[in-house]
């Protein structure tokens, strides 16, 4: 029982990070109907911003590690938001009216560009990420909760609430939803599609950066290719939850994290990705639009 609960905690904290990344995939898909494969590399950049700024910020607040941590988080989110907006502006906007395939291939190109630019800039060898010290919080019956996992939970919940607020209670959020339903109609209501798309990229990238910082804090070895696997899993999570659906992405992320963790804990651990993906295929066979997705016929 203890083992089961411990694995559940492990799975939820891993899944929470997948969820943060998955949100970016799903939001961009929502407004643009394409998968931004460079998203996982924005996640990597987020971790590196934390790596380089962390020590300096910690010096500024020697007695307030939490404040320093939040500053680093905010900085990484801001830098990545800018990066996401720049990527959209330079790489995707000129191709807005081209076929989806063209944009998709461009996205893969941008992804490779960021990975190899990262290897050039940061070096290919793994770096050890140090931000906040980690402490154990023992619970009942040998169950352990680490401070890192607590940070992941708290921040993910705060960010999800923040995202919900932005999407449902601000005019830009309303505009985002409007654009995701119908570009044309939204434009004719006076909504500036370009601003909404830029904002969506910025928001998604900021969440990826938060995911990157949390991931690095939990698994403190970072390298320029660190985004590839979590990015792939988060993409799967977004599809699993119903691509374009924000609560779906969060749910999908948690689901993938939990499945992966439980499979890892058995003797089939090395097949965990295969099993996680097999479950994905099964779910999509019975529910093609994903867990929370609604089947939508697209009209132009």
């Amino acid at each position: 029982m203890t083992e089961f609960l411990q694995q559940l905690i492990n799975g939820l904290s891993l899944g929470a990070i997948y969820a943060l990344i998955a949100l970016g995939y799903t939001m961009v898909y929502g407004v643009l109907r394409f998968i931004n494969f460079a998203h996982s590399d924005v996640f990597m950049v987020g971790a590196f911003v934390g790596y380089y700024s962390g020590p300096k910020v910690l010096q500024m607040f020697p007695n307030w590690p939490i404040v320093a941590g939040l500053c680093v988080l905010a900085l990484a989110m801001a830098v990545c938001a800018a990066l996401g907006i720049i990527i959209e502006r330079l790489a995707y906007r000129p191709l807005r009216d081209r076929s989806k395939l063209t944009v998709l291939i461009t996205a893969i190109g941008v992804s490779l560009f960021l990975e190899y630019a990262g290897q050039r800039l940061f070096g290919a060898d793994p770096k050890s990420f140090k931000l906040l010290p980690s402490q154990n919080i023992p619970l009942f019956g040998g169950l352990v909760f680490s401070s890192n996992q607590l940070i992941v939970f708290v921040l993910t919940v705060v960010l999800l609430i923040g995202l919900r607020f932005i999407v449902f209670n601000t005019k830009i959020g309303t505009a985002m939803r409007a654009v995701s339903f119908n570009h044309h109609a939204a434009a004719l209501m006076g909504i500036n599609i370009d601003v909404v798309i830029s904002f969506t990229f910025g928001l998604g990238s900021a969440l990826a950066a938060a995911g990157g910082i949390l991931y690095a804090q939990n698994y403190p070895s970072i390298d320029p290719l660190m985004g590839v696997l979590p990015g792939l899993k988060a993409f799967v999570a977004a599809v699993l939850g119903g691509i374009g659906n924000i609560p779906g992405a969060a749910l999908g992320g948690l689901t993938i994290g939990i499945i992966e963790t439980f499979v890892s804990g058995t003797r089939w651990s090395t097949y965990r990705d295969a099993i996680a993906f097999a479950i994905l295929i099964l779910i999509l066979l019975f529910k093609p639009s994903g867990l929370l997705g609604t089947s939508q016929t697209e009209k132009v």
Binding site: D125, P126, K127, N136, G142, N218, P220, S221, G265
Partner: protein, 397 residues
């Protein structure tokens, strides 16, 4: 880390420049009929002996490759400063395989067929040595792996040598260490299934440990490059081991130590020579305190040959040489010794001289090449205390 990179690049450029200068300067001295004639296979035109090296200079095992390469480069410069071999200077041609699978074979093929190297040095990781070995074997170019410990490596053919101990030996020594020093009878193993080194070492450890009456209570698997070990560690914790054996590499070992401590697993962790890297302490932090690993040498060894090497290495690279550096150094020295005894740069002759290596005193101890082209030598146990590597004991079977 930026400094490290810049330091490294500038160093590499310097070495290249020095090598270039040396070959340039030596040109007028080339009329040496005996050496020129004996060159025969491929290196006839030059008054240098080309030696190839492939190493993981970047990527996940970058510190291995860099250390090993630094040791090799230091040895070659020393040899050349002392007049070279057979009256010729040795020229080291090296390439980076980025710690990736699938790069090494191509690199070695290029070194052999285009650059016509007389011998090949490399690699640290057994998986990558196994990629390159068949190429060397086919082309009858001797290859010396400085530190691949998987037994399969030298089974690839009579041209493939190593100058470090074997995983069969290392696994047995670690089993003895677990039983006698750690007093553990219940051990869990976490294996990196992507690395033949890790799989092999785990198996040799298990055989010996069980044979000596110990029990392996959990065998968990992971894949190199994984970051999240919470799940496998939670399952391991449930089996309640007295020690956990992690026969993988330092990046994962550091992460595993960290996550194990976070999950409240406080039993000792120990591993093999794959842990040997300052990155282990950087990544693992306080979590690797009190962990152990076996390796090939310790800079704390007071013998003159070791201290001389440590001093020269520190002068040049401003850091203490690790085992990979020591083995890299010895691999070049053993090769130079063999070429000298062979009196030739032809592959078969170097091979025969290498196979006849007896009683070579290197920084990693007395090295003797056996009939299987392996070296047997004692192992050193190291622990981490106050963020530093500390010598524990020297073990042999």
């Amino acid at each position: 880390m930026k400094e490290r990179w810049n330091f490294w690049t500038s160093r590499a450029l310097l070495i290249l420049a020095v090598a270039g200068l040396l070959t340039g300067c030596n040109k007028p001295q080339s009329p040496d009929p005996s050496a020129g004639g004996a060159g025969g296979a491929g290196v006839a035109t030059d008054n240098v002996i080309k030696v190839g090296e492939y190493a993981s200079l970047t990527g996940t095992e970058a510190t291995f490759g860099q250390s090993s390469h630094n040791g090799t480069a230091l040895a070659i410069d020393e040899i050349n400063a002392a007049g070279g071999v057979l009256g010729k200077q040795i020229k080291l041609l090296y390439e980076d395989n980025q710690s990736k699978a699938g790069e090494s074979a191509a690199i070695v093929l290029k070194l052999i067929s285009r650059d016509k190297v007389a011998a090949v040095l490399g690699e640290v990781a057994s998986g990558r040595s196994l990629e390159a070995a068949p190429i060397c074997q086919q082309n009858k170019v001797p290859m010396i792996s400085p530190s691949s410990t998987n037994p399969e490596v030298t089974k690839r053919g009579e041209y493939i040598f190593r100058i470090c101990f074997l995983d069969s030996f290392q696994g047995a020594v670690l089993a003895r260490f677990a039983k006698e020093t750690l007093k553990a009878t219940r051990v869990a193993i976490l294996t990196d299934v992507r690395q033949p080194y890790s799989v092999g070492l785990a198996e040799f450890f298990r055989q010996r440990f069980v044979q000596d009456g110990g029990a392996v209570v959990a065998e968990q698997k992971y894949s190199g490059g994984d970051k999240d070990f919470n799940a496998v560690l939670t399952a391991t914790k449930a089996a309640d081991p007295q020690a956990i054996f992690v026969p993988g590499y330092y990046t994962e070992a550091g992460l595993i130590a960290r996550q194990a401590r976070q999950l409240g697993i406080n039993v000792p962790l120990f591993g093999g020579d794959g842990w040997e890297s300052p990155k282990l302490i950087e990544i693992g932090g306080a979590a690797v305190e009190g962990t152990y690993y076996s390796t090939h040498y310790s800079p704390e060894d007071q013998s003159p040959v070791v201290q001389n090497f440590v001093k020269k290495y520190q002068e040049r690279y401003k850091e203490t040489p690790d085992a990979m550096a020591a083995l890299g150094y010895d691999s070049a020295m053993v090769l130079a010794d063999a070429i000298k005894r062979a009196g030739s740069t032809e592959g078969p002759k170097i091979r025969d001289a290498l196979a006849a290596t007896k009683d070579f005193h290197g920084v990693t101890g007395r090295t003797m090449i056996d009939a299987e082209r392996n070296a047997s030598k004692p192992a050193v146990m190291v622990t981490i205390k106050d963020g530093k590597f500390k010598y524990v004991e020297t073990l042999s079977l």
